[in-house]
Subunit: 368 residues, 2 copies
């Protein structure tokens, strides 16, 4: 039979009941093959068997979704046996799901699910055609009177607008929190986080564009302008949302964490809840970047939640910005968790942050 | 500088102004590297230069989106320089966009865009958690009185429910047709096409599951049941749709083409327009599969549009089913186009088929 003449396909990844994972790659010619696992400090060396299949079995991994990719003699390889991937604008990787004995908030289960709506529009501010995604919670009904608060949720550098749903599972996490009564039903808006899209088009031999200060500033400024002047008006016209500042939150990861702080703290009239997960890309001259802290009251700010993994190299700048913000008489909720600069940290950040939102009646101001 | 010590990233794919495309892969150790291009008859051999970069430049390609992947000594490789991919449950590939001098209907342009809504639900009929996608046209307003006709649009074997939007660009094609006044504004519903999901889980050394007759039958039956009893009721409750049979169409590609014929022709009370693009997977005993043709009037069928590429190996079975349906006194619109079993054919099929829908006032019955 024709299909029997092919070498047997390799099984990869193989997730064992105890959470160990075996990765396999058939590559008889390669001299050295490694697998890089999201959250791992170093790539793991794989061993070749007599049939040319490289493999390695990890120790037991905590239940989660892990990105991974292979490297064979310098060549970046996706796993040909796995069609689950993480979308990304700079480099793709595969995903392996390690299930737990009970579902994690990001697992697909048989509970009521909200919807994810994809909008496409032309941004006059940035000058491109782009998307944003909107999550509406279970039971949302555009023809009913109920209105919802809104979380603007921003992805990181190299993600696209689908990052928080495709990789971050924000929709599943909220479905789960809402189902358990842990978070208020809310709408989540996930825009494209680039005000200067060329920042994700590195050129061969040139310095990384994100290290260009002017480009980064333009990226932040135009992103903020597009969010406030293009995305928010469409959301507030198209969905049943509350539009008072107590009903708006903004949060994001990495570059999106910086954008949340820059947008939120400079628009205290618009956002009462701010979250930054492993924020990155802020300059060091905080006073210049947050001019509104001097001139405008932040008494209406209910939550300023700044989280970072202790093994993330951004822990130091995050501690610095927290210290500076405290010196500006803001009440910061600093969160340090285990972990590196990974989606495992950010999914847990969202699961911890979302329950705190839109509780103004119970909460005190984050501004002293 | 650290980033200068890495080998320069290779540019791939490079699309030239005349439509030629250069593919490149750095793989110094490989002995033979080929690139398979969607719609190509054979993989193209690539040549290695002294720096270990393999490359080939194609002839001029017609403006389109082309899937491609590399093979290096038997190893299936995605292009590490390209993060555009085609989602697929069996094997991933990259995508290269060859633009034309004027936009194709599937290109992103600055015209009014509809929305794509992702629904997640538990299927009691199939026994899994699954998605379906709904396109609403520009100007759709769930709070207004306007109602829309609905096209149920089905993907092929190995695609997931996102296939028709992510790869087929059905939303962009309809945006374009509607913008030019060529198609009636309509809603498109894109469900997951598997009634027996194990049909997309081939086992090593076993025959391909799609060749298993009983499994294929169960796949078709439960798909149809889930569509009619689970998806359609949610659509008709959640969206402003007309629910008379003149306002419902069903069409699909390959496996989804067979499903469109099986569902549409066996439910003449529900669908007045049927399309099959490169249909595959029908058995040969047509009389058994289409029992309603003998017992029920098909006088209300306005369009039975059956298309196939002339270079598709399914052209013969498609001609056979067309011949048989004509013998059953149905008026078939047979369409033969250039092309193989590819998305280039199916995107053009949709662009040709959608303008014919929901024109009952102008059209005659497809039943003589």
């Amino acid at each position: 039979m024709a299909f029997a003449q092919q070498p047997a396909p390799v099984l990869s990844p193989e997730v064992h009941p105890d959470g160990r994972v075996t990765f396999r790659l058939r590559d008889p010619n390669a001299k050295k093959v490694t697998v890089s696992l999201e959250g791992g400090k170093e790539p793991l060396a794989m061993q070749k068997d007599e049939s040319g299949v490289w493999s390695i079995t990890t120790g037991a991994l905590a239940p989660d979704l892990y990105g991974y990719s292979f490297d064979a003699d310098g060549l970046h390889l996706l796993d040909p046996s796995n069609t689950e991937i993480k979308p990304n604008l700079l480099q793709l990787s595969n995903v392996v799901h390690v299930p737990g004995s009970s579902p994690s908030p990001w697992d697909v289960t048989d509970i009521p699910h909200g919807l994810v709506h994809r909008h496409s529009y032309h941004s006059s501010i940035v000058g491109d055609n782009r998307d944003f995604y909107v999550y509406t919670p279970p039971g949302y009904d555009s023809t009913a009177d109920t209105r919802y608060p809104v979380l603007y949720l921003l992805h990181g550098y190299s993600d696209d607008a689908s990052g928080w749903t495709q990789v971050g599972k924000a929709n599943l996490i909220l479905d789960s929190l809402i189902s358990e009564g842990k978070a208020r039903p809310m709408i989540i808006v996930m825009p494209l986080g680039y005000g200067a899209p060329e920042i994700v088009h590195p050129a061969a031999g040139a310095p990384p564009p994100f290290s260009n200060h002017d480009l980064r500033e333009r990226n932040f400024d135009r992103f903020r302008q597009a969010l406030l002047d293009e995305v928010m008006p469409v959301v507030e016209k198209s969905y049943k949302v509350d539009t008072d500042h107590d009903s708006r939150a903004i949060a994001g990861l990495s570059m999106g964490g910086a954008e949340s702080l820059l947008t939120g703290l400079n628009h205290p009239e618009k956002f009462a809840y701010i979250g930054a997960f492993s924020a990155g890309g802020l300059g060091e001259d905080f006073a210049t970047q947050f001019p509104q802290l001097k001139t405008t009251s932040h008494a209406g700010l209910h939550l300023l939640w700044i989280a970072c993994g202790t093994e993330d190299r951004l822990i130091t700048p995050n501690r610095q910005v927290i210290g500076w913000l405290k010196n500006q008489d803001l009440q910061v909720t600093p969160i340090e968790t285990p972990g590196m600069h990974t989606w495992m940290v950010w999914r847990r950040n969202l699961a911890a942050f979302a329950p705190l939102l839109f509780r103004a009646a119970d909460s005190t101001s984050a501004s002293k």
